[in-house]
Point group: C2
Chain length 252, copies 2
Amino acid sequence: MKTKRIDVFLLPALLGETDLSGGVAVVIDVLRATTTITHAIAHHADCVVPLLSVDQAKEEGAKTPSALLGGERGGQKIDGFDLGNSPAEYPESTVRGKKILFTTTNGTKAMQACRSAQEIFIAAFVNLTALCNQLADCEQIFVVCAGTEGEITREDVLLAGAIVDHLSADATQPIELNDQAQIAADAWLEAKTGLTATSLADRLKQSRGGRNVLRLGQENDIDIAATLDKFNVVPKLNPQSWEIRDSRNSTP
Amino acid sequence: MKTKRIDVFLLPALLGETDLSGGVAVVIDVLRATTTITHAIAHHADCVVPLLSVDQAKEEGAKTPSALLGGERGGQKIDGFDLGNSPAEYPESTVRGKKILFTTTNGTKAMQACRSAQEIFIAAFVNLTALCNQLADCEQIFVVCAGTEGEITREDVLLAGAIVDHLSADATQPIELNDQAQIAADAWLEAKTGLTATSLADRLKQSRGGRNVLRLGQENDIDIAATLDKFNVVPKLNPQSWEIRDSRNSTP
């Protein structure tokens, strides 16, 4: 029986020279990029295109006038953009059928760091179970936490740990974890003790990312981000086309 | 009442541009450098001098023929050295009154990274309580995990979490933690659930550092490293003289 291997990286920089080409990557930026992208895809956006710079997004937007521009700098909506980085700004009435050109500070960089993986999935608490079902048959999984401005953030680590815990509980084969995966799982198991949706939200509010979001007056976004399994959808980033689509609708 | 602040760094590289000059640093390399140094100091070595290279240690040794050369490369004792990196090699009969010129792969680098701190303490499970008593009145503490070859290792993170947990329990003032400190504390609290000396040793054996030590056939070193509060001693590295001495005998 083949071993399943899960390697967690608490920051993209910790990937170092790791070769992702033999595995599947999972990108985490709970507050708020990957939570927001999951909302957009669950609400039937055609696709989300993650872009590194504001200029790139504006250039692409000029070429595709029907597209929406979304994202943040310093947590705030960008001048001239249609949407910010709050999941609440991405209801079906706004995004259905739309291409969304999306740029955020940390999440987009984490996706770029995973570019060489066979497949790239987008993870949030709102799609935890759907994601883990998708990963059930993958032999080598790289889970990459975006962090905030080069610092490890607890909210991303907790989700990484939840993924490790979920996959370990479901696995029929032996699982190998790197130390960062073990640490993330420890953190999640400690958080899970007596966990309710409220206490997960409370923990997220204490994290570095959470404090940033509170400072922006967006507490509601944290409550949304802490809602486990709100959606049964897995956004998938195609490394060639660089578009994120519902994994059920995307070509491999 | 002044706030106490504890910042944990899961690797020296994660210090980034952090300015340590306003605080006290704690260096952790549980398997095995800081455990071994604590044994040497508890067994009345005169001092331990942490050196980056084998050549440096040999040069210093040539100048001080009474000194002992200790340390490892690839976990093994170095050719021409008196002692390796196993705590069992540092009994009082060997080290009492001796100067020890000591070089290890990861621990020494972590100490170098802390060079600008006001004071530098050496931490291990074998001196956890003594260390925490020493830190009780410090307002800004930087806890730096050595890791192994640039990778985060669980055994160092568990000790960092134990220090955070211990200081938080004892504190009479509010405590601020960075996210890495919160994650380390989560990992320790999860490990502590039902903890016995055996299960701490077992956890250390599963870690990256632990697997390395097992590969070297030094399982006993892990059991020693997992012995909580074996000693009531805190080795202190003087940033000027670059010597580690018992904090009770060292000048500030």
